[in-house]
Symmetry: C2
Subunit: 341 residues, 2 copies
């Protein structure tokens, strides 16, 4: 204990902290608690309740001068709806907490709510409650989201199996490209604007998630929020037999790993053109950049052939630890809000 008290949160890292919280709060029997996109709570009705929550802090997740409030409202709801999509569930309701500086003009909040309402309406999600309070300076936001799925249908991160194909919906790296364009104040042609829109106005893959969860042979699933470099690691760690403490048996197979074919990562034409023009590394944006809110999933080759959801096969789960990034030009890293500080 002595050593940890001397550690700072930067040393421990976001996932170290989550691990410590998880140790302290084991989930009750039959409930999926900390460590996936959502908690899964079985109900008497044969439906499971899905719950997730996300916090956005001014100065960490957004800069007030850079993001129009409409877009922040949209994104705040979108990233939470995406967590339900990531389980293959139907989002039903959100709860919004806002802490606002007293001198913030009311118009800012009106615009925020307009964006929040537009995406909520689009996905049929009700805002059912929340908290409004004052902040001394920075805007702080928290959204909690509820969803549901048939009993046992939620796709957990822990379900990846040896030989599964690794797949993604949509394209990767657009959001990271948009963020890079904002930070580097790049001239905004139509392509750059498209990437910025993808960054600010993500569309969660709810319909795709529902269809994937209804397909036998689709195993692990999550949404891509930190970048596949980091997110795939979460699937592998969660799917490790070492994580299966409930069985009490020694692991029968080693830690699972994956081989990812970097040249096959789906890149949008807009991202490819912007990267070619500005000399950016598209593959690095696709692997290391986050906030795509596409679905990353693993499935059997048979299931993959029958899928009616647009997707790209990017690799395979294998029986060797670690991720092999075949065709990568450099090291691949994900995003950690603590380590990046």
């Amino acid at each position: 204990m002595q050593t940890t008290e001397e550690m700072s949160l930067t040393d421990l890292g976001e996932f170290g902290l989550i691990g410590r919280i998880r140790e302290r709060f084991p989930a009750p029997e039959g409930v999926t608690g900390i460590g996936d996109d959502c908690a899964v709570i079985p109900q008497r009705s044969g439906r499971d309740t899905l719950v997730s929550t996300d916090m956005l802090i001014e100065g960490t997740h957004f800069l007030r001068r850079d993001i129009p409030p409409y877009r922040l409202g949209w994104k705040s709801a979108a990233v939470n709806i995406s967590d339900i999509a990531a389980m293959g569930g139907l989002p039903t309701a959100t709860f919004l907490s806002v802490a606002l500086p007293a001198d913030l003009e009311t118009g800012w909040m009106e615009e925020f709510l307009r964006g929040y309402a537009d995406i909520s309406r689009r996905f049929g999600v009700a805002l059912l409650g929340g908290d409004t309070t004052a902040s001394p300076d920075r805007i702080c936001l928290n959204v909690a989201v509820l969803g549901e799925c048939p009993s046992g249908a939620a796709r957990l991160r822990s379900a990846a199996r040896d030989g599964d194909l690794v797949c993604v919906t949509g394209c990767l790296g657009d959001s990271a490209g948009g963020l890079k364009a904002i930070l580097e104040d790049v001239e905004r042609d139509a392509d750059v604007q498209a990437l910025i829109d993808r960054h600010y106005l993500p569309l969660p893959r709810v319909a795709e998630g529902l269809r994937l969860a209804a397909t036998p042979g689709v195993h692990a699933m999550m949404d891509i929020s930190d970048g596949i470099g980091s997110d795939l690691k979460h699937i592998l760690e969660a799917s490790s037999p070492l994580q299966d403490k409930s069985s009490g048996l020694p692991p029968e197979s080693p830690l699972p790993g994956a081989t990812i074919d970097v040249p096959s990562l789906p890149l949008s034409p807009a991202l490819q053109r912007v990267c070619a023009r500005l000399g950016w590394d598209a593959a690095a944006l696709a692997t290391g950049g986050g906030e795509d809110y596409e679905l990353l999933f693993t499935c059997t080759p048979e299931a993959e052939r029958s899928l009616d959801v647009p997707h790209t096969v990017i690799g395979v789960i294998r029986d060797l630890p670690g991720i092999e990034w075949r065709g990568a030009k450099g090291p691949v890293a994900g995003f950690d809000h603590f380590r990046k500080l």
Copy 2:
């Protein structure tokens, strides 16, 4: 719209902002959304799901140097569990979001979690998820809580009726007295320490709420977080026929009001002794101070006689608008996080 965009949030106030959010996000049929202690979501199983969320910001709700992290952890969970108690529900799970400065020592968070775990265990509530992220400076916390109750059993703020008695559990003003003692750095004898403990380590009235909700004739209920001056107003406003937009009929009776007998407000012996010694106004602390987390409820006189929950009758709901504070020495006000800034 022009005028509101020029308003600051201080002008609009916390409850003005909630009203605007509520207008924009009407609850679906059969669901209780924004405006009560919790949302009430009917399930297919014949149970209702209760949800609430609360945000705590360093500098608005607490000062890091004043509150030990164990107590902050306890209180963060307690105020949310109290929202479930306020509906007469059974709390089942919480979701904790924390944004932490990078230089915060890990020991702070360990202590916070120890307090959070201790009260969670006491009430059998699981921590099932959350979010951990970085904050540039201030600690930001958000807790979302889930609970349940039999279908239709939740006690809403809107159920007060003419002739109901107004009752409270426990004693009022201890928490406000404890806060005043902290802020004024009063010498800590056993009585002062007892008030400070009530401020930092509130015990939500879960068992009492469950029993009250199971008692026919118990109508409106809420927990006392802003002080009864403010909280009773919420019950009266919510119980106004003008608020009943679902019927579409003109209101049959005028806005309900209440008469509160200030000398009958329950005051703890510790608060009475501290107030006598330091010349504080105990009644003002009991009416205007918040964070008692006792239950404020209305019920028929018949129901009151049969109640097996310790309580005090402090007044009556009447057919005249406004609150008459009988025996009050001065004006009575509640707490508004925006207006107090």
